[in-house]
C-alpha cells in the first residue's frame, strides 16, 4: 500500500480501493520496520497522523475530499514549525523547542487534508550537504547504506525514496532540496524566491531560503507545489504573482521550447558518468522536440565563493536569536548574560554551524564588510546577469544537478570539499530562480543521477512540463532501492 504516487493514491481513494487510514497505518508500520536502517525521521507523529487520516477518510466517504492531497501521508523537514510538535532543526539548541504556531506551508497542507507522518532529519540549521551534520543521527542513502543521502533535506529525500512517505517538503538555500533529490533519485523542486511563504521556516539565509517539494514523480511535485505556493501577508518577501494550475501545465507540449546548455556546468570536476547521463537526457529531450543551444554563464565558477560569504553572513545574524533567553537550550551557572549566551551557543551548536557563524561574523565585522560581504553581493549581481542574458535567448536551462553522485559517510571531512558539492545548485539560489532535479539515470554502481532544469522567475510550470515529458519518455522512474 506504500509506494503509490500521490496522484495514484488520490485515484485509489476515489475508487474506494483503499482508505487514508489503511495507507497511513501502512506507512507508520513501514517506518517502524525500516527507518532504523535509514534514519529519515527525527519525530514520528503517529496519533495526530491517524486522527488526520480518519478525518480525511470521512471526507472521502462523503465523496467530498478537499483535493488531491486529502488523506495523503507526507513528511516535513524539521526546519518547518509545527504547532505542538517539537521542531529541532537538527540542533541540540532546539532539542526541546515546541512551536506555538504552524508554518504557513504546514497550515496549507493541513487545509488540503494532507496527513503529516513526522519530521525529517537534516543537517543542523540546514547547513550541510550530507545530513551528517545533524546533532542527532546520520541519515543513510537507501540505494547504498554506506553513502550519504545528500543534504540538508536528506531525511525528506530518503522518506520519499524509501517509501516512508508519499511526498515531503524540504528547504533549499544552496541546493538543499535538489542535491539530496539527485542523490536519492527523487524529484526535488526549489521554487522561485518569493513563490512560497517562508513564515515558520526556521531562518538560515533569508535572501536565499525557499521551501519546496520532494516527490516520487513530477506530477506529485506539481500537486505539492500547488498546495503551498502563493502570497502570504505574514511573509513580506512572498510575491503576489498569480499561481498557475501546475497539474494542468503537464500537457506534454514541449515542441519548440528552447533549452540552453551551459558549458560551465560540464567543466572539470563533473563526474564523467554524470556528464554522460545528462548529455543523453538532453538528446532525449531533443528527440521530443526541444531545441538546444550551448550557452555560457561565465560567473558560475565564482558563485560558490560569493555564496560562502552571503549565506554565513545572513546566518550569523539570524542565529543571533539563540541566546538562551526566549526558547531553546540554556547552559546554567553563568555569572552574566554574555557568558550565559556564549556558553549556551558553544554547547548547543555543532561544528559546522559554529564555523559558518564565525565566517559570517568575520565577513560582516568592521574593516572587512566591504572587502568580503560587499564584494560578494556585487558578484551576486554578475551571477544574476548571466542568467538574465541566457533567458533572453532560451526558455530553460539543462545541466547536471551535482558534480558527483552520493559519496560515502565520512568521505568529505574537509569543509571546503563538502562545499564544492553545491557548485552547480548555488547559482540558482543567488539569482532567486526555480530549479528542479529529476532522475536521469544511474551510475554503473547503481547510484541515481540528477538532471537539473533551471527556469525563468516564476516559471515553475515550464520546468514541471519538461521534466514530466522527460520522465514519462524514459525508464528511470521504475527502479526502486532494495530495502528490507
Amino acid at each position: 500500500m506504500t509506494g503509490k504516487t500521490i496522484h495514484a493514491l488520490g485515484e485509489a481513494y476515489r475508487r474506494g480501493d483503499t482508505t487514508p487510514t489503511a495507507v497511513t497505518e501502512a506507512y507508520l508500520a513501514r517506518i517502524e520496520q525500516l527507518d532504523g536502517q535509514v534514519g529519515a525521521y527525527l519525530t514520528v507523529t503517529r496519533e495526530p497522523a491517524l486522527r488526520a487520516a480518519a478525518a480525511a477518510e470521512a471526507r472521502h466517504r462523503a465523496r467530498a475530499p478537499l483535493g488531491p492531497l486529502d488523506g495523503v501521508p507526507i513528511a516535513l523537514k524539521d526546519v518547518l514549525c509545527t504547532k505542538g510538535v517539537r521542531t529541532t532543526c537538527g540542533s541540540k539548541i532546539l532539542e526541546r523547542f515546541v512551536p506555538p504556531y504552524d508554518a504557513t506551508v504546514v497550515a496549507r497542507l493541513a487545509a488540503a487534508g494532507a496527513v503529516v507522518l513526522g519530521k525529517t532529519n537534516m543537517d543542523e540549521f540546514a547547513m550541510g550537504s550530507s545530513t551528517e551534520h545533524s546533532a542527532f543521527k546520520p541519515t543513510r542513502n537507501p540505494w547504498d547504506l554506506a553513502r550519504v543521502p545528500g543534504g540538508s533535506s536528506g531525511g525528506s529525500a530518503v522518506a520519499v525514496a524509501a517509501d516512508l512517505a508519499a511526498g515531503a517538503l524540504g528547504s533549499d538555500t544552496g541546493g538543499s532540496i535538489r542535491q539530496p533529490a539527485a542523490f536519492c533519485g527523487t524529484v526535488g523542486l526549489k521554487p522561485t524566491y518569493g513563490r512560497v511563504s517562508r513564515y515558520g521556516l526556521v531562518a538560515f539565509a533569508s535572501s536565499l531560503d525557499q521551501i519546496g517539494p520532494l516527490a516520487q514523480d513530477v506530477r506529485d511535485a506539481a500537486l505539492l507545489l500547488q498546495a503551498i505556493a502563493g502570497h502570504d501577508p505574514r511573509d513580506a518577501t512572498s510575491v503576489a504573482a498569480p499561481v498557475p494550475d501546475y497539474a494542468a501545465a503537464l500537457d506534454g507540449t514541449v515542441r519548440g521550447l528552447r533549452a540552453g546548455i551551459p558549458r560551465e556546468y560540464f567543466a572539470e570536476g563533473v563526474d564523467p558518468e554524470i556528464a554522460r547521463a545528462v548529455r543523453a537526457a538532453i538528446e532525449t529531450l531533443r528527440g521530443l522536440g526541444v531545441t538546444t543551444e550551448e550557452i555560457s554563464l561565465p560567473t558560475t565558477g565564482y558563485a560558490l565563493a560569493a555564496y560562502y560569504l552571503i549565506a554565513p553572513a545572513e546566518a550569523s545574524s539570524n542565529l543571533a536569536r539563540y541566546d538562551g533567553v526566549k526558547y531553546g537550550l540554556r547552559v546554567p551557572g553563568a555569572k552574566d548574560l554574555i557568558e550565559m549566551s556564549s556558553r549556551t551557543r558553544a554547547a548547543g551548536f555543532g561544528a559546522e554551524v559554529k564555523r559558518r557563524v564565525m565566517l559570517g561574523t568575520y565577513a560582516l565585522s568592521a574593516g572587512y564588510h566591504e572587502a568580503y560581504y560587499g564584494r560578494a553581493q556585487k558578484v551576486r549581481t554578475l551571477v544574476r546577469r548571466d542568467f538574465e542574458r541566457a533567458f533572453a535567448r532560451v526558455d530553460l536551462i539543462l545541466a547536471p544537478t551535482t558534480p558527483n553522485v552520493a559519496f560515502k559517510h565520512g568521505e568529505k571531512e574537509d569543509p571546503l570539499a563538502m562545499y564544492l558539492n553545491d557548485a552547480l545548485t548555488i547559482p540558482v539560489n543567488l539569482a532567486g530562480l526555480p530549479g528542479l532535479s529529476v532522475r536521469c539515470g544511474f551510475t554503473a554502481a547503481g547510484l541515481p543521477i540528477g538532471l537539473q532544469l533551471i527556469g525563468k522567475p516564476f516559471d515553475e510550470a515550464t520546468l514541471l512540463r519538461v521534466a514530466d515529458v522527460y520522465e514519462r519518455a524514459t525508464p528511470w522512474r521504475a527502479r526502486k532501492p532494495a530495502l528490507s
Binding site: 523547542f97 506555538p100 565564482y302 564565525m358 544574476r384 532567486g432 530562480l433
Partner: protein, 95 residues
Amino acid sequence: MISRQDVEHVARLARLELSDAELERMREQLNAILGYIDKLRELDIANVEPTSHAVPLVNVMREDEVVPCLPQDQMLANAPDRVGELFRVPRIIED
C-alpha cells in the same frame, strides 16, 4: 591571513565560547575557506551594483490594523527560565 587574535575577537562578537583546540582548528579552517573565497578578487566589480535580494521588492506596506497575536503564556512556554510573565536572565546590573 586571519590570526589567532582575530579568531578570538570574532568568537567574542559571535558569542561563542570556544576551547583552545576549537580556536586553533577554526583559524586553520577559516583561512582555508577565505583562501578559496579570495578568487572573487579576479572579477572586475567596478560599477556593479550589489544584489541584496533576488526579487526586486520595494517597501511592502500594509494597513496598520490590530490583529490577534499569540497569547503571552504560549510565547513564554519555551522559556528556559521565567518569573511570572517575564523571561529571567542572569543579573546584568550590579547592586
